[in-house]
C-alpha cells in the first residue's frame, strides 16, 4: 500500500511516497529527507533526542506516525539558524556549555524553543528544569542547559518587546 503525504519541513514543501505506513516522522526526516540533525535516542518517547516542532509545538517525532501528520508544518534543528547567524538558543547553549557529547543537543534546543513559545516557565529555573524534563542528557550538562534556556528566554523576550515598540 503506497501512501503519498506532503509536509512543510523548515519552510520547504516536501512530497513523500511511503512504501508502508509504519514510518515514523523521525525516520522520515532522517532516512527519506536526510535531515539527520534530529537524533534517534531511545525511539520510545523517553529521551527527547528526537524533539521537533510540529505546527509550532514540540513533540517526540519517534512516537508520531508520518502518515498521520500529512500536511503538517515541521521545524527541525536544521531550520532554526538564519544562514550563518545562530538562533539565540543555539548561541546560548554554546555560551553556557549546555552540552558535552552533543547527541541530545538538537532535541534539547528544539525543546527549549517549544518551552519558550509555551510561555509557562518565565525566569524560574525550577520551572525551566520541569519544562525540560522530557529531554535527557547522559553527560549531565543540565546546569548549563538551564542557564542557556534562561538567558535565551531573556534575550528573546527583549527582542519581542523591541519589535512591538
Amino acid at each position: 500500500m503506497n501512501l503519498s503525504i506532503s509536509l512543510t519541513v523548515n519552510g520547504v514543501r516536501r512530497d513523500v511516497e511511503l512504501a508502508d505506513p509504519r514510518v515514523t516522522l523521525l525516520d522520515l526526516l532522517r532516512e527519506r529527507l536526510q535531515l539527520t540533525g534530529t537524533k534517534k535516542g531511545c525511539d520510545r518517547g523517553q529521551c527527547g533526542a528526537c524533539t521537533v516542532l510540529v505546527d509550532g509545538r514540540r513533540i517526540n517525532s519517534c512516537l508520531a506516525l508520518a502518515a498521520s501528520h500529512d500536511g503538517a508544518d515541521i521545524v527541525t534543528i536544521e531550520g532554526i539558524a538564519r544562514g550563518e547567524e545562530l538562533h539565540p538558543i543555539q548561541a546560548a547553549f554554546i555560551a553556557h556549555d549546555g552540552m558535552q557529547c552533543g547527541f541530545c543537543t538538537p532535541g534539547q534546543i528544539m525543546s527549549a524553543i517549544g518551552l519558550i513559545g509555551e510561555g509557562q516557565a518565565g525566569d524560574d529555573p525550577e520551572r525551566v528544569r520541569e519544562g525540560m524534563s522530557g529531554n535527557l542528557c547522559r553527560c549531565g550538562a543540565y546546569s548549563g542547559i538551564t542557564d542557556a534556556v534562561l538567558e535565551a528566554q531573556k534575550s528573546l523576550v527583549k527582542t519581542d518587546q523591541g519589535r512591538a515598540a
Binding site: R44, R58, L65, S133
Partner: protein
C-alpha cells in the same frame, strides 16, 4: 513492528465501522500505541486514524456549569485553558505532572483514558503475562513487584493504571461519551476501567468499534475549586509514573467539610475512588485526625501483591498530605513542580 492497513475516515460513523472489524485499533496521537507496537506488545492489523474527525477538539462550557472536553483535545491544551484551570485545578495539576511536555503536546484526552494498564512484564515479550497472552501466567507475582497494585488486584494480574489525569477526574464524577455500533452511550469514568479478575486482557468495558468522543465533568465539579489538589510520589522529580498519588477536593463552609472527593492513583488497575473515606470527612473539621481516619478507611482493604507493603502506608500519608494541602487552599499559581511534595526552593528560616 508488524505491518498494518492505515485508514483515515472522515466521519465518526465511518470510523466506528472501520474499527469494528477484528484486529483494528484507533490511532490518535499514538504516544502509547506506537510504543506498544514497536515493542511487539500490540500488533493491530488496521489503524483507524481519528485525528482528523471533525468537532472532537473543543472544550465547551455548558449552561449547567458542566464542562465537555472533546476526545481529541490535547493534554497540554486542556491544562493551559484558563477557564478549565479555574474550574478544575486538581485536574490540571494531575495533567501537568504526567509524562513530559512533548508527550502532553501530542497526547489526547481520549487516548490518556485508554492507555494500557501495564507493568514491566507486560512490556517484556520474554516474560509470562496474562494481560498480553491470556492464560500464560504472571511473572510479576514472583518478580520485581514493589510498584504493583495494592487494591483490586487478582492472581492473574497486579498491574496498575498509570494515568494521573484519571485520578481527579474519577473523584469529580467525570463521564465519558462513547459512540459505538449501536449508537451513543455514556459511562461513568469510574466504570470505564475494569479490575483484572480472570480476564486482565480487557482493560476497559469498551467493545470493538467503541470510540470515546468526549469527556464531561458535571457542574458540581467546580464547587470544589477552592480546595483541590493532586499529589504524586515519584522515584524521580519529573517524568515518571506515580508510585502512589492522591486527588483530594473539599467543599469547606464555616470551618466544616461539607463534601469531600478522594481518589488514589498507582494503587490498582483503575483510578481508585475512595467513597467510604469521603463519607468520614463529610461534616468533619478539616484537621489531621480526620484526614488520618479517612486515609485509614481508604486503604482498609489494601493488601500487598508482592514487595509493596510500603505502598499501603505511603498511600495513606500521601492522602493525608493531599487533604492538608487541599484544606489550606488551591494555590493561586500552579506550583513549579506540579503535584510534587518536594520543592528545590530554599526555605528561609530567618
Amino acid at each position: 513492528m508488524k505491518n498494518f492497513d492505515y485508514v483515515r475516515p472522515a466521519t465518526i460513523s465511518d470510523a466506528v465501522a472501520a474499527a469494528s472489524e477484528s484486529g483494528a485499533a484507533y490511532l490518535a496521537a499514538g504516544t502509547n500505541l506506537l510504543d506498544l507496537m514497536k515493542g511487539g506488545i500490540a500488533g493491530p492489523s488496521r489503524l483507524v486514524d481519528v485525528t482528523r474527525l471533525p468537532g472532537l477538539d473543543r472544550i465547551e462550557h455548558l449552561a449547567d456549569g458542566g464542562i465537555r472536553i472533546g476526545a481529541l483535545v490535547r493534554n497540554a491544551d486542556l491544562a493551559h485553558d484558563p477557564d478549565f484551570a479555574r474550574a478544575c485545578p486538581a485536574v490540571v495539576e494531575a495533567l501537568l505532572s504526567g509524562a513530559s511536555a512533548q508527550l502532553r503536546n501530542a497526547a489526547t484526552v481520549g487516548g490518556n483514558l485508554l492507555q494500557r494498564t501495564r507493568c514491566g512484564y507486560f512490556y517484556d515479550p520474554a516474560s509470562a503475562c496474562n494481560k498480553r497472552q491470556p492464560g500464560a501466567g504472571c511473572d510479576a507475582r514472583d518478580g520485581e513487584n514493589r510498584l504493583h497494585a495494592i487494591l483490586g488486584w487478582s492472581n492473574a494480574c497486579i498491574a496498575t493504571h498509570p494515568s494521573d489525569f484519571c485520578v481527579p477526574l474519577v473523584a469529580l464524577d467525570a463521564v465519558v461519551e462513547i459512540e459505538g455500533k449501536t449508537g451513543r452511550r455514556e459511562v461513568a469514568l469510574e466504570a470505564l476501567h475494569r479490575l483484572p479478575g480472570d480476564t486482565p486482557e480487557r482493560d476497559s468495558v469498551l467493545d470493538p468499534g467503541d470510540l470515546i468522543v468526549a469527556l464531561r465533568l458535571p457542574g458540581e465539579a467546580r464547587t470544589f475549586s477552592a480546595h483541590a489538589r493532586y499529589l504524586k510520589i515519584r522515584e524521580r522529580t519529573s517524568f515518571a509514573f506515580a508510585v502512589v498519588s492522591a486527588a483530594a477536593a473539599l467543599r469547606i463552609e464555616q470551618g466544616t467539610i461539607r463534601d469531600a472527593r478522594l481518589a488514589l492513583g498507582g494503587v490498582a488497575a483503575k483510578p481508585w475512588r475512595a467513597r467510604a473515606a469521603e463519607k468520614i470527612l463529610a461534616g468533619a473539621r478539616p484537621d489531621r485526625a480526620a484526614f488520618r481516619r479517612a486515609a485509614e478507611t481508604a486503604l482498609a482493604d489494601a493488601k500487598p501483591s508482592g514487595d509493596n507493603q510500603f505502598k499501603i502506608e505511603l498511600a495513606q500519608r500521601i492522602l493525608v498530605r493531599a487533604l492538608s494541602l487541599a484544606a489550606a487552599g488551591t494555590p493561586a499559581r500552579m506550583p513549579a513542580l506540579p503535584a510534587s511534595p518536594f520543592s528545590s526552593q530554599i526555605r528561609s528560616f530567618a
